[in-house]
């Protein structure tokens, strides 16, 4: 019998999370090591899935199916295609990194690591769902751990506001999406939530046009689509480090991915009809996000808004509906996930030592944490789409897709490249170079070995993809080819 890798991937963190809650709170060491062991196992499984995924055969693989509520046509149905297997890998990497960089958490550590595990389970679940109901279920599963973690461990000043805003926005989004999901279920007449069957349902043009925005925008809110992006910076900034990493790194991709899977893939004609609007909104994301990032005075807000800017490119890629654009969107989801997780990890490391995030109160940190500077510079170069780094490899196909469909958006979005370069270089200079203010000096120590492993590992991965794009592209293309078939064209 085949080993149910995906089920282990999804259920192991869930189980660990529950076991953790049952442990006595004092067993700090056990709690940490158990979380790390779980994160390591999920990481290894995600690598295994990525490596063994058959790129030539493409399609959905590692499928597992079990009836759950047959009356409603709901089943436990998991499997991955080229895009989701890449995203599982990204999530696996970020969960492991998140555990490593917040290893020292001692305030209610049991609950902290437990919630982190629930969150991990939720994202692994969304990416692997082949059942629409189940996708929605895992999507919603993340809300509580997210809210609680922000409110309990977030930065004291804004955590209540940030947590509440995030939850309300996402709740609104999921209600809207749910309406769309139910409409799809009833219209199909198939009495099933099976995505593979729904994909082939052939919805009418009118229906697609009407209901597409519900699903796409509903889920897209979690992807940070303009003008519903404002939860993102506030939420990211209020959250504790590992949650910021997962929120910006993985959760935003969960939103975009759900919009892709349930919106674009089920209602392709709806996407075609609404593509111009999506392009306009996404282009605003890209340019507006970059400009707003430039004027921030808080280190973490810069990164928060930069995520808004970069996620815009993912949506542009979707809306082009071209093989290049979709491939680029897949690459960008992966690349941005790794990059922004690295950014937030470094912001967290800096904050833990300097106890401030204000750019004007930081400076000269490279003397104390050279590896952090290295990681931030690499992340920055990815962020500005510098050739030789994964960001360029991801952005170029998106721009090419845009040229084929909406050339104006390629031209306008490109403005963000220079703006991004400006704010990244300014932040690098203010935080890492120059004089160190006396006020923060006492706390400055070098990073731990765990932190260094995370920063160097994530940086090297982005460089590797930048230099050898074929590590990742063929897998993503395998996923895209299926979408192109659904779109009814070569």
């Amino acid at each position: 019998m085949q080993i149910p890798w995906i089920s282990i991937l999804i259920l192991l963190p869930l189980a660990t999370g529950m076991v953790l809650l049952a442990l006595p709170a004092g067993k700090l060491k056990l709690i940490r090591w158990l979380s790390l062991a779980t994160a390591l196992v999920t990481f290894v499984i995600s690598v295994l899935l990525f490596v063994t995924y058959d790129k030539v055969a493409a399609g959905y693989q590692f499928i597992e199916k079990m009836d759950w509520l047959p009356v409603m046509g709901i089943s436990y149905h998991v499997g991955v295609d080229g895009i989701s297997v890449a995203l599982e890998l990204m999530a696996g990497i970020i969960v492991l990194s998140g555990v490593l960089v917040t290893w020292q958490t001692s305030d209610r550590a049991r609950e902290y690591f437990s919630f982190l595990m629930f969150l991990a389970s939720s994202v692994f679940g969304v990416f692997a769902s082949l059942d629409l109901f189940q996708l929605f279920f895992f999507f919603e599963l993340a809300v509580f751990p997210k809210y609680l973690m922000i409110v309990m461990w977030g930065s004291p000043k804004t955590r209540e506001y940030g947590g509440m805003k995030l939850t309300l926005y996402l709740f609104l989004g999921s209600v809207v999406a749910l309406v769309g999901v139910l409409a799809v279920y009833f219209q199909s007449g198939l009495h099933t939530f099976n995505l593979l069957e729904l994909e082939q349902a052939g919805f009418g043009l009118e229906f697609q046009r009407l209901w597409f925005p519900f699903i796409f925008i509903g889920f897209g809110i979690l992807g940070g689509l303009f003008p519903f992006h404002s939860w993102a910076p506030d939420g990211h900034v209020a959250a504790p480090t590992a949650v910021s990493m997962l929120l910006a790194g993985v959760e935003m991709k969960v939103g975009a991915f759900a919009a892709l899977r349930a919106g674009l893939m089920l209602l392709p004609d709806g996407m075609r009809f609404w593509a111009p609007l999506v392009i306009i909104l996404a282009t605003i994301n890209v340019v507006y996000g970059a400009f707003i990032a430039m004027i921030q005075t808080d280190f973490k807000y810069v990164i928060g808004f930069s995520s808004v800017s970069h996620m815009g490119l993912v949506f542009i890629g979707f809306a082009t509906l071209t093989p290049e654009g979709l491939t680029g969107a897949g690459l960008q989801m992966f690349s941005h996930g790794i990059m922004t997780a690295l950014f937030f990890a470094i912001v967290g490391m800096v904050y833990d030592r300097a106890h401030t995030r204000s750019l004007s109160e930081l400076g000269g940190l490279y003397k104390y944490m050279p590896i952090a500077m290295f990681g931030f510079v690499v992340g920055g170069l990815v962020s500005m789409g510098m050739p030789g780094f994964s960001g360029f490899v991801a952005e170029i196909p998106i721009y090419i897709g845009a040229w084929k469909t909406f050339p104006a958006s390629a031209i306008i979005a490109a403005i963000s490249i220079v703006v991004t370069a400006a704010y990244i270089l300014l932040v690098v200079r203010k935080v890492f170079f120059g004089e160190t203010p006396e006020a923060i000096k006492p706390g400055l120590t070098d990073m731990t070995l765990r932190d260094k492993i995370v920063v160097i590992g994530l940086s090297l991965l982005m460089i590797a993809i930048g230099i050898v794009p074929s590590i990742l592209t063929p897998t993503i293309q395998a996923g895209v080819s299926h979408i192109i078939t659904l779109l009814g064209g070569a």
Binding site: M386, G388, W403, L425, R429, F433
Partner: protein, 509 residues
């Protein structure tokens, strides 16, 4: 195994590979770091020397030593390398100047390891531009060199290094934004980024609609996007303002490479991409480009003459000298496609002169920046008024400075004269008025060079230096000797290099 198919890969990537290996060396062992960086940078030079002799000067093939590997299949971009005579000349310049700059940087004290590694990465970036036969790859290398250069200026530069480095990178990135978009657009229209394939299809595309616009309009926009990107890099007036700041604030070795090689990337872009891809647009707008070149020559010379800071003076002189390169390119652009045999011959001479001028300016500008750096290390000032009469106490240094200044001025018998003469001879029948005006600029380059020499070397000795400054060191003489030898050899017998350049010019003109 035969060496031909891999030689370009080796030349391009060995510096970066060596740089990465240097990461494993301990940061404290400064001497080991210095010598290993120098050793790494000598390998591409040796390989280039081999390449120089193996290169077929009579070939009618445009590109030799081609090699193609898969890179980014999803968007039809591959690792396609190949060279012609123009690229070979530029590769020689790069592989020659890099070891010299590294040797110059032996006096760097802080973070020597990072400095050397960045320098080797920079070399790979520059070489990559010259060997790329794929548009996207060209852009990759074009941009990637910016990163090490930014940090070289930002970390090891002078007082205003923050301002200068940010200005440098934003100007260049801003300039290349249009280039990036235009490259994407050409890639989408052609279905490939392979330069050889695009050269076959793109220029012939003259009728029809693209993106809802007339194809001529689209091409004109793309043409200007290319031109602006390269004009910022050269730099052509009025896009030059980043240059004096960047050059002045950069560490000496950085200035040598910046003036010696990076500026050539812009001119190379004109020759490799703009003229072959946009012959019709080049012809239409050549006069404008020529006018900008003349402005660069004249204003560059005047500005140089007005400087108080020795390094800034040399920086402005680069604008002046590179103006001649652009003028020659504009002339060739104007003639392109014409059937008049005499004009075509003039254009051939002009382009040969332009490439030779690129090489020559690389030598003399690197030499001048080096000498300014040597003086600064001894005196910690660059203000011309603080010097005076130094010839009396520094005879060897003084003689070398005199020689280098004469090369820069274009004294007959030295290299600058040959190339400037070829350019003037080539452009005269095409842009007579421009040529006349620019020769007046040539006169002013005499003025600023002599002004600098007078203030530094001659006049009464500034007593504060008596007994305090040492003569030029052996290491420094070793740096400058290859430059002097090459300057002399081109001045006396230019044929050894012109025959290589001419292969390329004949192949595509």
């Amino acid at each position: 195994m035969r060496i031909e198919p891999t030689i370009l890969l080796m030349i391009t990537f060995l510096p970066a590979l060596g740089g990465l290996l240097m990461l494993t060396l301990p940061a404290k062992k400064t001497n080991l770091l210095r010598w290993s960086a120098l050793a790494v940078s000598l390998i591409p030079l040796a390989l280039t020397a081999w390449l120089w002799f193996a290169f077929d000067r009579n070939s009618t093939e445009i590109f030799q030593f081609q090699t193609q590997l898969a890179w980014f299949d999803a968007i039809h971009s591959s690792l396609h390398f190949g060279i012609d005579g123009i690229s070979l000349t530029m590769i020689l310049l790069t592989t020659l100047l890099t070891p010299l700059a590294i040797l110059t940087a032996f006096n760097i004290k802080d973070h020597i390891k990072t400095f050397m590694i960045l320098f080797l990465l920079l070399e790979t970036g520059m070489l990559g531009v010259f060997v790329s036969l794929d548009l996207l790859l060209f852009f990759v290398f074009w941009e990637i060199g910016l990163v090490p250069m930014y940090f070289l200026i930002n970390q090891w530069g002078g007082e205003k290094r923050n301002y200068a480095s940010l200005k440098f990178i934003l100007f260049t990135m801003g300039g290349s934004l249009g280039l990036l978009l235009a490259i994407q657009m050409i890639g989408v229209v052609s279905g490939t980024f392979d330069l050889v394939a695009i050269l076959r299809s793109w220029p012939g595309l003259t009728t029809g609609m693209l993106f809802g616009l007339q194809i001529a309009t689209v091409k004109a926009i793309a043409f200007w996007a290319f031109v602006i990107a390269f004009a910022v890099k050269v730099p052509v007036w009025p896009f030059h303002t980043w240059l004096p700041d960047a050059h002045t604030e950069a560490p000496t070795a950085g200035s040598m490479i910046l003036a010696g090689v990076l500026l050539k990337l812009g001119a190379y872009g004109f020759l490799r991409l703009v003229l072959p891809l946009f012959p019709a647009e080049s012809h239409t707008y050549a006069v404008w480009l020529g006018a900008l070149a003349v402005a660069a020559i004249v204003f560059g010379a005047f500005s140089a003459a007005g400087q108080k800071d020795f390094k800034r003076l040399v920086a402005y002189s680069s604008i002046n000298h590179m103006g001649f390169v652009v003028l020659a390119i504009a002339a060739a652009a104007y003639v392109g496609g014409s059937s008049d045999e005499a004009l075509r011959q003039s254009a051939t001479i002009a382009v040969n002169g332009a490439v030779l001028q690129m090489f020559n300016h690389g030598l003399s500008a690197a030499g001048m920046f080096f000498l300014v750096g040597v003086l600064y290390d001894k005196t910690h000032t660059r203000l011309l008024e603080n010097f005076g009469g130094l010839f009396a106490i520094l005879p060897v240094y003084g003689s070398i400075l005199l020689f280098m200044s004469m090369a820069s001025l274009g004294l007959p018998g030295l290299n600058g004269f040959v190339s400037e003469f070829m350019i003037v001879r080539g452009t005269w029948p095409i842009f007579t008025a421009f040529t006349v005006i620019s020769m007046i600029g040539l006169l002013f380059s005499g003025v600023y060079v002599l002004k600098a020499l007078k203030l530094v070397l001659h006049g009464p000795l500034n007593e504060q230096w008596a007994g305090k400054v040492n003569e030029i060191s052996t290491r420094e003489i070793i740096v400058v000797t290859p430059l002097i030898l090459l300057i002399l050899s081109i001045g006396i017998w230019p044929a050894w290099i012109v025959e290589v350049i001419n292969q390329a010019v004949m192949a595509w003109l």
